[in-house]
Amino acid sequence: MEVVHNKDTQTQSPTTKPSKSLSPWAMARRKFMRNKLAMISLVYLIILSILSFLAPFITTADVTLVNIGQMSLAPSAEHWFGTDTSGRDVFTRLLYGGRVSLFVGLSCTTIILFIGTLVGSIAGYFGGTVDNLLMRFTDFMLNFPFLVFVIVLNAILFGIVSGLWVLIGVLSILGWGGVARLVRSKILAEKENEYILAAISIGCKPSKVIMKHLLPNVLTTVIVQATILFAGMIVAESGLSYLGFGVPQEVPSWGNMLSASQQPNVLQNMPWVWVPPALILIMTILSINFIGEGIKEALNPKSFR
């Protein structure tokens, strides 16, 4: 009975719905949706982004306002996470700090991916002298002393360009080397496939061969790398801000908030000042990494979920 029934539905299905096949991307999306850890991380990240984005509407307190009358208050109904040594509301700063940290992370990642993919794909596809020139330049950038460069640039550009943009610029300029190398190596491997020869023989220009045939096939690696970069850039921003070379002091960011714990008094007696940013930072990095792992798994044709 059931077998007959099955047969019926099978023969009917092509007529009832157009038999359009799942693209490799759609299949990856399905796999990703089934990965609980990655989905939870994604939800957490989305909520965090929304909260940060809507910060001005959620809290009414002025983030930069120094209030001497309310210094170092413990958490209460009025100040959920207390106030810091300058009397600023920690919860408000946490939300605004998320804005800055996520923005820096996202824009650095975008710029790095753009430059890295461009340089890497051109070097990998054309090879020869072009490859040599571009890769030696990449090596040069990779060998740049990062911290020194940041400090010097910050000193030179202080007051001319907003400190936030200096940081984004420096992180991006010094960060694309790894991506360029990765993309180049992937392209080198991928271009040996016959479908690239086929693309050339059916009259595709080099730009089209790279954009339509090579990049979609190396994108999986790039996307996974992007998540790692995103997390890394947030950490870099926090680290530099902690040291005092990141975003300017008055701009709230998670790293800046953490730098308050440099004072022994705060570290010992006022955990509400530095624990929330530390926790949020850790959770954000973790969730980004889980998402990256999930994407990697979803894009791997050999994994079944």
Binding site: S21, S23, N193, A199, I200, S201, I202, G203, P216, N217
Partner: protein, 333 residues
């Protein structure tokens, strides 16, 4: 003189390959200097008449595929010339090269690697049309692609599927449809069936034969399987170590091979018609020499059962020994 020659061949030859050489530099040492050349193709000469199929056979590594790729200029030949439709295409570049590729298309060896895994079959087949006819309407193009899929024996709903959903034979049909999309004059088929099952091989070969009649195609058919080449070709060129040693129509090659290498090759073909009888079998000694350091004189003299002293010093050129049968061997000088 060359002008008159051209005129006389104008109606006949679609493709002329003259003394084509493709040497790949070998780099080594600390400064990556060129320390040698792999002579993959070392002076190949043949021509293909309009509407015929020239089969190119030879063992692995003898330069068949490299020859095919150099003709389409996927590789830039080191020397020699390729004349297609009375136009020297050896050194054209840019837009002109793209225009020529419209007339020469290729079917690739590996049906699993020659289709982009990220593209729908419809897009794979329509891409060549999109590249050359930018103003074509979407609907027209789709109709054309559907027709092509039909012609190569694929169902219409293949349009929306991805290459990984098809079997090897079907994938090769997709590759053939892509090569046909521009209505080329010449198709270079680079071992199109060597990756397929024997049962599927014959289907694809028959398809190629049908399409040849329907679209007035000329084939350069590269293969290492002698029976496949015999089935497909009008004339056959035999390659050894980057050289064409014999070109003749297929009956002459099979009935009366002249070059010692061709004789050995033909004698190796299993024949079911005289099953049980002892056949005379020429077994070659030794291995194919390295193309990086080919033997002097005749490339085959190191393994040739009929080699003479002068074979190692004189490199024989292709000569018409019998009508239509060209052989490069000192025996027939």
């Amino acid at each position: 003189m060359s002008i008159t020659e051209n005129k006389s061949t104008k109606t006949q030859n679609l493709l002329e390959v003259k003394d084509l050489k493709m040497h790949f530099p070998v780099k080594g040492g600390f400064f990556r200097r060129t320390i040698g050349n792999v002579k993959a193709v070392d002076g190949v000469t043949f021509d293909i008449k309009k509407g015929e199929t020239l089969g190119l056979v030879g063992e692995s590594g003898c330069g068949k595929s490299t020859t095919g790729r150099s003709i389409l200029r996927l590789l830039n030949p080191s020397a020699g010339s390729v004349i297609f439709d009375d136009q020297d295409i050896t050194n054209v570049n840019g837009k002109k090269l793209r225009d020529i590729r419209k007339d020469i298309q290729m079917v690739f060896q590996d049906p699993y690697a020659s289709l982009n895994p990220m593209q729908m079959v419809g897009n794979i087949v329509s891409e060549p049309i999109k590249n050359y006819y930018k103003n074509k309407k979407e609907e027209e193009m789709k109709e054309e692609v559907m027709e092509l899929l039909n012609k190569v024996g694929l169902p219409e709903d293949a349009y929306y599927k991805y290459a990984h959903e098809f079997s090897g034979g079907q994938r090769q049909r997709i590759g053939i449809a892509r090569a046909l999309a521009l209505r080329p004059k010449l198709i270079i088929a680079d071992e199109p069936v060597s990756a397929l099952d024997v049962s599927v091989q014959s289907q694809v070969l028959n398809l190629l034969n049908e399409l040849q009649d329907e679209f007035d195609l000329t084939y350069l058919f590269i293969a290492h399987d002698l029976s496949v080449v015999k089935h497909m070709s009008d004339r056959i060129g035999v390659m050894y170590l980057g050289n064409v040693v014999e070109v003749a129509d297929k009956h002459s090659i099979y009935k009366d091979p002249l070059h010692p290498y061709t004789q050995a090759l033909i004698s190796a073909v299993p024949d079911a018609s005289n099953f049980g009888q002892k056949r005379e079998r020429i077994v070659l000694q030794g291995d194919v020499p390295s193309p990086e350091n080919p033997p002097s004189g005749c490339p085959f003299h190191t393994r040739c059962p009929k080699a003479m002293d002068k074979c190692s010093s004189i490199k024989p050129q292709l000569k018409e020994v019998k009508p239509g049968q060209h052989v490069a061997c000192i025996l027939y000088d």
